[in-house]
Symmetry: C2
Subunit: 133 residues, 2 copies
DNA sequence: TATTGTTATACTCTATAACTATA
DNA sequence: TATAGTTATAGAGTATAACAATA
């Protein structure tokens, strides 16, 4: 029983219950844009750990779906600033709510002591995630 | 701070540090074959939560890479039995070891009480994962 | 007819290499 | 020349629909 396998199993399960229409990377990128405002494409690619061409295409899809827009930088003509739209924000928040509800209802099926230990470990797991990023 | 987001962040981080050469679904499918022996293609698809055509293609890739083989069923001529090879088993175990080592070295960077609470929650998280599948 | 699996087709997502535009 | 981003190309991975073989 190791943490990596457990995380993988949990994630695979979550993914299967996620509403479709937004890939993992797309959702994660929207989260960053939601939290940290307009960002350069290169900065986004670096934060997501994907290549610049991959981010170009992802942003193109997000823009096609009206979830984000490209803007020019006044300071540097080469730079593209990516910004989340209201529709993007709405979709993101809706997905989060749906997913959180699903997890909550699953947790409710566990014994109380299991819930308690998971809840107690959450801040530590969060710090672990921050450590890795 | 919710569990779903934390799991997603942990998984994204793990994925980025995973050695290449085996996708998430490929690794997960090999795990099933490793643990539960030769299985029918339909059974594999159902356990992975993917469609039958998707599993056909995945098994074709695994077979091409010599990680699994197709076998005929003596009892039913329609059935394909998928079996992990020694090379598949070796690769799987190697990946697990590499990943477990990475997680261990990361956990070592956390305060002792964080490690303790994560360790304490692991069985509960495992049960949660089983619940979802 | 029902079940098992494959093939055909299309889309997302990713990478590397080559390119364009701006600094 | 260096940097920011795009385009070209290729491959993995997924889905739905249509098909072939076996039961």
């Amino acid at each position: 029983m190791d943490l990596a396998s457990t995380v993988q199993r949990l994630f695979a399960a979550l993914r299967r219950r996620s509403p479709p229409g937004l890939s993992l990377t797309a959702a994660s990128t929207l989260s960053i844009l939601d939290a940290d405002g307009p960002l350069r494409l290169t900065e986004l690619a670096s934060r997501e750990g994907v290549t610049q061409p991959a981010m170009t295409q992802l942003v193109t899809r997000l823009e096609r779906d009206a979830l984000a827009v490209r803007r020019a930088s006044a300071a540097d003509g080469r730079v593209v600033l990516v910004e989340i739209t209201t529709a993007g924000r709405d979709l993101l928040h809706h997905r989060r709510r749906v997913r959180a509800d699903a997890v909550t209802s699953l947790l409710a099926q566990l014994p109380a002591e299991d819930r308690k230990s998971i809840e107690a470990a959450l801040p530590a797991l969060d710090r672990l995630a921050s450590l890795i990023s």
